[in-house]
Symmetry: C2
Subunit: 197 residues, 2 copies
C-alpha cells in the first residue's frame, strides 16, 4: 500500500503542483483546499482566515496573542485552528494513502499508526521567481523579500507547533530541489519511491 505523502515546501518551489501530480499518478486523494473547507465548517472561521493562519504565523504576533490569552483558560484562535486542523489531517490519513500539503502534517502524523513519506521541496530563487510571478503576477516588492516573507511565516508556524526546524533533513525522508531536478523529475521520483515504499 502506498504511504501517506506529506509535502512541505518553500514558497514558489512548485510543491503544490508536484504533490497534485503525484496524487494523480498514484490515483490517491490530494488534500489541500479540502482541509481548509473542513476547518471552516468545524471552526466557524472564514476560509480566507484559515488559509492565512492555517500554516503561517509571525513570531511577534504569536508572542502577543499567546500572552493575551494566557491564563484565561481558552485557546488563541490560531491554536484552536491548529487543533481542529490536526484532527482533520489524522482523520484523512487514516482513510488511506493520500498526499497532504503543508500544515505540519509530517509532525502531526508521527504519533499515528500511519506510514508516511515526508518530503520537503525547495528551489533556487530564480526558478521560484518565475513560478511565483507566473502564478501571482509581479509586484513592487523585490522577489527575495516576497519569497522570504512567506517562508518566514511557514517556518515560524512549523517551529511553534512542532519545536523543530523547518527544512531540517532529520524531519524528512527526502529534501529535493525542484529547480535543479525539474518538476517532472520530482513527480517521477516521488511516484517511484511511493510505489516501492
Amino acid at each position: 500500500m502506498y504511504p501517506v505523502i506529506t509535502i512541505s515546501r518553500e514558497f514558489g518551489s512548485g510543491g503544490h503542483t508536484i504533490g497534485k501530480k503525484v496524487a494523480e499518478q498514484l490515483g490517491i486523494p490530494f488534500y489541500d483546499s479540502e482541509i481548509v473547507e473542513r476547518v471552516a465548517i468545524e471552526s466557524g472561521y472564514d476560509k480566507e482566515i484559515i488559509e492565512d493562519q492555517g500554516e503561517y504565523t509571525s513570531v511577534l504576533e504569536k508572542y502577543f496573542t499567546t500572552n493575551l490569552y494566557a491564563g484565561k483558560y481558552f485557546e488563541t484562535p490560531q491554536d484552536q485552528m491548529y487543533r481542529i486542523q490536526a484532527n482533520i489531517i489524522k482523520d484523512l490519513a487514516k482513510k488511506g494513502p493520500c498526499v497532504i500539503v503543508g500544515r505540519c502534517a509530517d509532525y502531526i502524523l508521527e504519533s499515528e499508526d500511519v506510514k508516511t513519506l515526508n518530503v520537503f521541496i525547495h528551489a533556487d530563487i530564480k526558478s521560484r521567481q518565475v513560478r511565483v510571478e507566473k502564478k501571482y503576477g509581479k509586484t513592487d516588492v523585490p522577489i527575495e523579500k516576497r519569497l522570504a516573507k512567506k517562508d518566514k511565516g511557514r517556518k515560524a508556524y512549523y517551529r511553534y507547533y512542532t519545536d523543530r526546524q523547518w527544512g531540517d533533513y532529520k524531519n524528512y525522508h527526502m529534501n529535493i530541489d525542484s529547480g535543479a531536478l525539474g518538476e517532472d523529475k520530482c513527480v517521477e521520483i516521488l511516484t517511484s519511491v511511493a510505489k516501492d515504499y
Copy 2:
C-alpha cells in the same frame, strides 16, 4: 553528459556504497581512496593521517592548531591537506562525470565550471547501527556515541572550511534517507536523476 555527483553522508548511512553503485551503473569513475592516495603523494603525509584528517576535525583541535600556527606564515598540516585535496578534487572533476564522496566536494566545485549534483545521504540510528556493526564490528561504545563522534568530526570539518552547515538542504540538490528508502532505491533514483540532469 552526466553531472559530477558529490555525496556527503552521515556515518553508517551507506553513502559510500550507494555512491559506488551509482558510479558503476553510470559507468563513470568513483573517487574515494584514489583521492587519499594522490594527497599522500603530493603532501608526503601518511595515508592513515590523511584518512583521519582529510574530512574530520575537532573544533577544539582546530582552535588550538590554528592559534599555534597563526602569524607564522605557514599553514597548519590540515589546512595544507585541505588545499592539496581541493586541487585534486577540482582536477578530477574537470576530467569528466564522476562520483566523489565527502571532503567538501560540493563546496569546492561550486566555483568551478562543472555541473554538479550534490547529494546528502542520512538514515535513522537503527539502520546505521546495523551497517556500522556489520562493517566494523561491535564495540563497548554505545552506538549513538559512535555515530555522533564521526558525524561531529565531519560536521566541524565542513563548517570550518565552507562556513556552512553540514546537511542543510540549501547546500544539496537532494537529501535522502537511505534507511527509509533502502540502498537499492537510493541507487535507482540517483542514477535516474543523473541521466536526466
